[in-house]
């Protein structure tokens, strides 16, 4: 590792992973160069319609992140750019980049339709004119690779008819069909006719031995379900949807319910059958014929209007080349290999991987890995944190309180986008006539750099103290304009934005006069509001740079250690008498890596790190305070002051009440069997017949979730058992084999080596019987349709992973959200209003400063827990690295004299911001997200949402209808 570390990181790839890693890093005090080989950022996610399992719009998750991007000064990003050479070592890399010409022009509107184009993109490193092509070098301490992946080329499998029949499309093409649909029908390519019957073919390019793509692509089952449900929802007519699959792999959090709802509520057909031919019908209708065999071996022919191929992921050629250039190890399928128990470290120190390049995965997992890679980089570069960034300095803020409003209105033509419909000069004229407006002008592009200078000049020249921009959507450019007025010495809340493009000229293209009237009205409303808004302060809060980590398992320890190495304090509170958690009971991970030696090393590191304190045999009994300033009391009465909280309290194994568990001593749970394997017990070693039963307690009406790891674990154990005794017969009784990702390799290997897999249906479960001595397992062989009976020496039950025992108790203290099953509910796609950095938060809670990692959030493997623990640390570092944080200015405030301490606000606030102190409510500014629910519900109107008060709205409405009186 280099002695001269550099506090900057190179992020390769501008998809959601690259964006997340970048945002985490800049918020934690590192400079970031982001390189994207295409001309826009947004990656694969911007091609999707909706994201499962929440069905939120993909773009509405992504867009706010892109907005932030344009507003941060410590990012430089380069589109159309590739890495040509990397020299140096961890901590100090010199990376040569080459940029191909692009046409970025500061005079062109930066907020045009597609939200993936950004202001100031393509600026090159020397500060030269924009978008100059050529080679240049950057010096960074770490590199994060997130080049993403490509989908499999479906035309390589000839019998599926892709590129031959027009109505066979790939899933990614179908996303586009959905995105552009009128939400009343789904249209097929051949004749633009509405479709009424669609089939999905799973595992196209995945789990395919012929094409040497043995791995499972992880996301296709879920997206096929999502697409099938969307197709139904987007069509006024009844649409018949069928998914042809091998195993339904809905293993993620809330995925099983999504699957059940699709099947039972939406009526999606699930047909277990691998398809080997798609043909067009001969009648010229361009319909497609699928021939398939069902469970009973009967052959069916079915006609569909359209067929969607669920294509899997593969690394792109350029990513493979990049990996080879950098000299990192790639796996058999050319994905980047990570070193054991790191989740994100490549074979080369200082180079990390996140997202699909490290293996197929969904969006939340990609985001977790991106944060984890950021966390790993931060750990490496902690001693040079903050050395490459410059705090932006602003002129002192003018005090305009008590001044009469002096409003400036700037109206945008947006090339011809607005001016072509709305008569902009008329809007400017009418604005000038409005009360308090002292200046108004028209711009060709309000968002151009030149316009910013003019706006600043005009603020000075006319002593403007309220600024209105009438242009496009505030979602992208509000922050940008607020920066401009702040640079001119105005408080950034003295700003209003009116959307006369997307909400006016674009939607009334054929009615220019009415559109002009509407634009005038919208400006009038905004001027009225501007007269009533005030400068707002962002309340500063000190941050205690210490984390409380609840739970001393792998997740908690990884989290604490990452933070400690970043230079923050961590205090682990563990309920039992020693660190280690569930991992104490696990011999090897799915890749046959020794868990115990890793765990012992981790415990040693934790114990010897001076930044970490450990309290065992204690639990949390009380928490006071809020983000940055928590005070926690432990059960031993110890008081800890800290800034953030990690909840890593794990989960535990279900104790089955079926299959003779607890009645016969040869019936064991997975963990118990694993312990016997580790101990090399003779009864396991000598067992002739071993039966492993899957889904014990999972995917049942009581527990409508998949425990995710048990299929992988049973396959791993089968291979271990086989090694211990090659003569043993090992049976795995399963419902769907969910060996997702590269775990499919083990499944394939187990099959090849003679492990016997027998599928059972949930309504016809295997029977385990005993005569008091021996065990017999009876199951229906679905191919023969007959009962088979196995004399089992050992029965292993893949018992469900249950939520943490203390979850509910702890939750009474924290008031967080638990899922129906009892796992902590992160808020994956939730965010606060405005421009905070929270749109996508798979390890965050709605309550600020509290994070979750590991089994407490849902079943997952050790590697996945490690990724999440690092991600949590990275997210926490974004808070801990600041001495103080600032609240938003748009917050609710209480007028004490009016407050009756009725607790209405405290009850309703989703963020626990109001507290009753001395018989009146107080709203903690840092917790308030500015939704205004409390203000509207307050029975005595004691609460006001700043700059959004009822008075402001009533005045606006009065103004709007003034002429009618």
């Amino acid at each position: 590792m280099s002695a001269n570390k550099v506090g900057a990181v190179l992020v390769v790839g501008g998809g959601i992973a690259g964006i997340q890693a970048t945002l985490d890093l800049v918020e934690s005090g590192y400079y970031v160069y982001l390189v994207e080989q295409s001309s826009t950022i947004g990656g694969n996610m911007s091609k999707l319609d909706k994201a499962f399992p929440t069905d939120n719009s993909s773009m509405s998750i992504l867009a706010p992140k892109l907005v932030e991007f344009g507003s941060i000064s410590s990012i430089q990003y380069f589109t159309n750019t590739q890495i040509s050479e990397v020299a140096g070592e961890a901590g100090d890399f010199k990376v040569k980049l080459s940029q191909t010409p692009n046409t970025a022009d500061t005079k062109v509107c930066t907020n045009y339709v597609t939200p993936v184009e950004l202001p100031n993109a393509g600026q090159d490193i020397s500060g030269d004119d924009n978008g100059k092509s050529g080679d240049f070098e950057v010096n960074v301490g770490a590199v994060i690779l997130c080049p993403g992946g490509e989908t499999f080329e479906a035309d390589q499998i000839e019998y599926l008819g892709y590129n031959k029949y027009p109505n066979v499309v790939t899933s990614i093409e179908f996303e586009r069909i959905l995105r552009t649909s009128d939400k009343q029908s789904v249209i097929r390519p051949s004749d633009n006719k509405k479709v009424n019957k669609i089939a999905w073919i799973q595992c196209v390019g995945s789990r395919n031995i012929r094409d040497e793509k043995h791995y499972c692509s992880c996301v296709c089952c879920m997206y096929a379900i999502k697409e099938a449900v969307c197709a139904k929802q987007y069509s006024d007519d009844e649409v018949d949807t069928s998914i042809f699959y091998m195993d339904m792999r809905t293993y993620g959090k809330d995925f099983e319910k999504y699957y059940e709802e699709a099947r039972d509520d939406h009526g999606v057909n699930f047909i277990r059958s691998r398809i080997y031919a798609i043909e067009e019908t001969k009648d010229g209708s361009n319909n497609l014929l699928i021939r398939y065999g069902d469970d009973k071996g009967e052959i069916h022919h079915e006609e569909f209007d359209m067929v969607v191929l669920s294509v899997g992921f593969k690394p792109s050629d350029s990513a493979v080349q990049l990996g080879n250039n950098l000299g990192i190890k790639l796996n058999d399928f050319n994905f980047a290999e990570t070193t054991p128990f790191t989740s994100v470290n490549t074979s080369k120190p200082g180079i990390y991987v996140a997202g699909i390049f490290g293996g197929p995965k969904d969006i939340p997992e990609t985001v977790i890995e991106a944060s984890a890679a950021a966390g790993a980089s931060e750990e490496l570069l902690s001693d040079v944190r903050g050395t490459m960034i410059q705090e932006k300095t602003y002129p002192p803020e003018k005090d305009v309180s008590g001044e009469e409003p002096r409003i400036g209105v700037f109206v945008c033509n947006c090339g011809n986008n607005i001016g072509g419909v709305v008569n902009v000069p008329k809007v400017v004229e009418s604005a000038k006539a409005l009360p308090y407006v002292v200046y108004s002008q028209e711009f060709l592009y309000t968002c151009s750099q030149d316009s910013q200078e003019i706006i600043k000049q005009k603020i000075e020249e006319h002593s403007l103290n309220r600024i209105i921009i009438a242009s496009c959507s505030p979602r992208k450019l509000k922050y940008y304009f607020q920066e401009t007025i702040r640079e001119a010495g105005l408080n950034r809340y003295l700003f209003e934005m009116v959307n006369i493009r997307d909400q006016c000229s674009f939607v009334h293209m054929n009615e220019p006069e009415k559109a002009t009237e509407k634009a005038k009205d919208l400006v009038k409303l905004s001027v009225n509001k501007a007269g009533n808004i005030e400068s707002l302060n962002e309340a500063p809060v000190n941050i205690n740079p210490k984390a409380l980590v609840i739970g001393g398992g792998v997740s908690g320890m990884t989290n604490a250690l990452n933070l400690a190495k970043q230079g923050y304090q961590a205090h682990i509170v563990e309920k039992s008498d020693r660190l280690g958690g569930n991992a104490r009971r696990i011999s090897t991970d799915f890749n046959n890596q020794d868990v115990q030696s890793y765990l012992n090393q981790l415990v040693d590191e934790v114990n010897s790190n001076t930044n970490i304190q450990v309290t065992t045999q204690a639990s949390v009994s009380k928490v006071d305070g809020y983000v940055g300033n928590f005070v926690t009391t432990l059960s031993n009465n110890e008081k800890i002051e800290h800034g953030v909280i990690t909840i890593a309290i794990g989960g535990h194994e279900y104790k089955p009440n079926e299959y003779l568990y607890n009645e016969h001593n040869a019936v064991l749970t997975q963990l118990e069997l694993e312990e016997e394997i580790t101990a090399n017990n003779t009864r396991v070693k000598n067992a002739k017949n071993i039966v492993l039963i899957q889904c014990v307690g999972s995917r049942e009406p009581d527990r409508r979730y998949c425990s995710r790891i048990c299929c992988n674990k049973s396959v791993k154990m089968a291979l271990q058992l086989q090694e211990m005794n090659p003569d043993a017969n090992i049976y795995i009784l399963y419902r769907d084999m969910r060996t997702y990702g590269f775990n499919e390799e083990n499944y394939r290997k187990a099959r090849k080596q003679g492990v016997i897999f027998i599928r059972y249906e949930v309504d016809n479960k295997p029977q385990v019987q005993t005569d008091g001595k021996d065990l017999k397992v009876t199951a229906v062989d679905h191919i023969l349709g007959e009962n088979i009976t196995i004399d089992a020496d050992i029965v292993g039950l893949a018992a469900a992973i249950l939520p943490p025992e203390d979850g509910i108790k702890l939750n009474q203290i924290f008031n967080l959200s638990l899922s129906d099953e009892g796992f902590y509910r992160e808020c994956p796609f939730r965010g606060s209003w405005g421009f905070s950095h929270k749109e996508m938060r798979p390890v965050d809670f709605a309550s600020e400063g509290i994070f979750v990692a590991g089994l407490a959030q849902g079943p997952k493997s050790i590697d996945e827990s490690i990724a999440q623990a690092k991600a949590t640390a990275s997210r926490e570092a974004t808070i801990l690295n600041k001495n103080s944080a600032k609240s938003s200015g748009i917050i609710a405030v209480v007028q004490r004299e009016k407050c009756a301490a009725c607790y209405t606000c405290a009850r309703l606030c989703p963020f626990n911001a109001p507290r009753i102190i001395n018989y009146a409510a107080e709203i903690e500014p840092i917790l308030c997200q500015g939704c205004g629910i409390c203000a509207a519900e307050c029975p005595n109107k004691a609460i006001i949402l700043q700059n959004y008060s009822d008075v402001i709205f009533t005045n606006m409405v009065d103004e709007l209808y003034r002429e009618v009186h």
């Binding site: 939120n56 719009s57 509405s60 009334h508 629910i933 009618v964």
Partner: protein, 141 residues
């Protein structure tokens, strides 16, 4: 009455206003009768503001929030729904009629739905005629 152009005020939460922006990106055309006032959350809307809009002579009013269960502030849209229902009751009681006020849910990614809502509301108000409190239009009758 034929050339009556209602003026409708729409209180849209930040996220449902996004659907209005999207309708623009999609170039969907709808009648230019709706004026959007953006709220942080539909849960911000107060009875008083809605009633004052009625008093001012608004021909039509609607509140738009996120889809139920999908509020960015968890339950703000349910609060809004309750308030709109309450105000509708009042409007019925005073004989004004509750049809001029409506609560809609629209997700940020559904520009089509926003255009539909704008169409639907404009059509509805056109058929109802000007607000009895809308003196200017009212005088014409």
């Amino acid at each position: 009455m034929d050339n009556f152009e209602p003026k409708i005020v729409a209180f849209c939460c930040h996220y449902s206003a996004y659907s209005a922006d999207l309708a623009g990106s999609m170039r969907l055309q709808y009648p230019p009768n709706v004026r959007i006032i953006e709220l942080p959350c539909s849960g911000t809307i107060d009875h008083k503001v809605l009633l004052s809009a009625v008093e001012d002579g608004a021909d039509g009013i609607f509140v738009a929030g996120c889809m139920e269960g999908d509020c960015h502030f968890t339950r703000g849209n349910y609060r809004a729904k309750k308030r709109v229902e309450k105000v509708k009751e009042i409007l019925d009681e005073i004989g004004f009629g509750s049809d001029r006020l409506e609560m809609y849910n629209v997700s940020a990614d559904n520009g089509t739905r926003f255009a539909e809502i704008a169409n639907e509301m404009t059509e509805r108000i056109r058929s109802l005629g000007p607000s009895p409190f809308n003196k200017k239009e009212g005088d014409k009758n």
